[in-house]
Amino acid sequence: MTPLPLPDRPDIYYIVAAFLLAIGIFGLLRRRTLIGMLISGELIFSAASLNLMAFNRFRAPDPAVGQIFVLFIMGLAAAEIAIALSIIIAVYRNYRSIKTRELSELNG
């Protein structure tokens, strides 16, 4: 039995998605600005979408369902980006900074 070509093996997609998730979590924890954290959140969304698409391609009986689900994820991510960027701009107008260390009026 010859091994499958690389794009036809589901493990490859799981590994790529796991790396995307790791980079996203790391950026979310270590970035010091709000926009960096937002981009890291997008990477986590991408990891989830890639896992869904891999399962959809290799395991699901109806391939349209996963694609529609990922489309909805993209729509919700776009809505989240719009809201978060407007909040970031409002915060910058009030504080003159979007560094997370300086937005600490509510700290204990």
């Binding site: 600005t33 399962f55 699901a60 391939p63 107008r93």
Partner: protein
């Protein structure tokens, strides 16, 4: 921002390999065309200078290891799930996953979710306008 665009183009290529060119097109259109451009505008308005790190390398390695452990756990769970469960064989597929099938499903089975997500996008954009506007009227 350039990195995000390159990452999204790569993800679109992976979607193309997963037999869904429609999603690859949508990924490029939404992420590279809309999200990256919006983030670039926000960067121009808000100047996000990454401050100099004051921590040592040890904590960076610690958090990197933490993230790797979490993602490895999720990868292991998914791989196990994909390898060991009884899945329906792909020969018994009910549709071919083409653009026509996606459109039919969107307008019949998932029409409620379709309308709901359009409403969510409308509310999000109006909310974004309201939040940015109240920031402007302040002195």
């Amino acid at each position: 921002m350039c990195g995000l665009a390159i990452c999204c183009i790569g993800l679109a290529g992976l979607y193309y390999f997963l037999h869904s060119p429609f999603l690859a097109l949508m990924e490029i259109l939404i992420y590279v065309g809309a999200v990256c451009v919006t983030i670039v505008f926000a960067v121009m308005l808000a100047e996000p200078d990454e401050p100099v790190r004051d921590e040592n390398r040890g904590s960076t390695l610690l958090w990197g290891g933490f993230a790797l452990v979490i993602s490895a756990a999720i990868f292991w769970g998914l791989w196990r799930l994909g390898a060991q469960q009884d899945w329906t064989a792909p020969v018994t597929r009910v549709s071919d996953g083409s653009v026509a099938a996606i459109g039919k499903s969107l307008l019949t089975t998932y029409s409620m979710a379709f309308e709901l997500i359009s409403l969510a996008l409308l509310v999000a954009i109006i909310g974004a306008l309201a939040v940015a506007r109240t920031g402007r009227t302040k002195p």
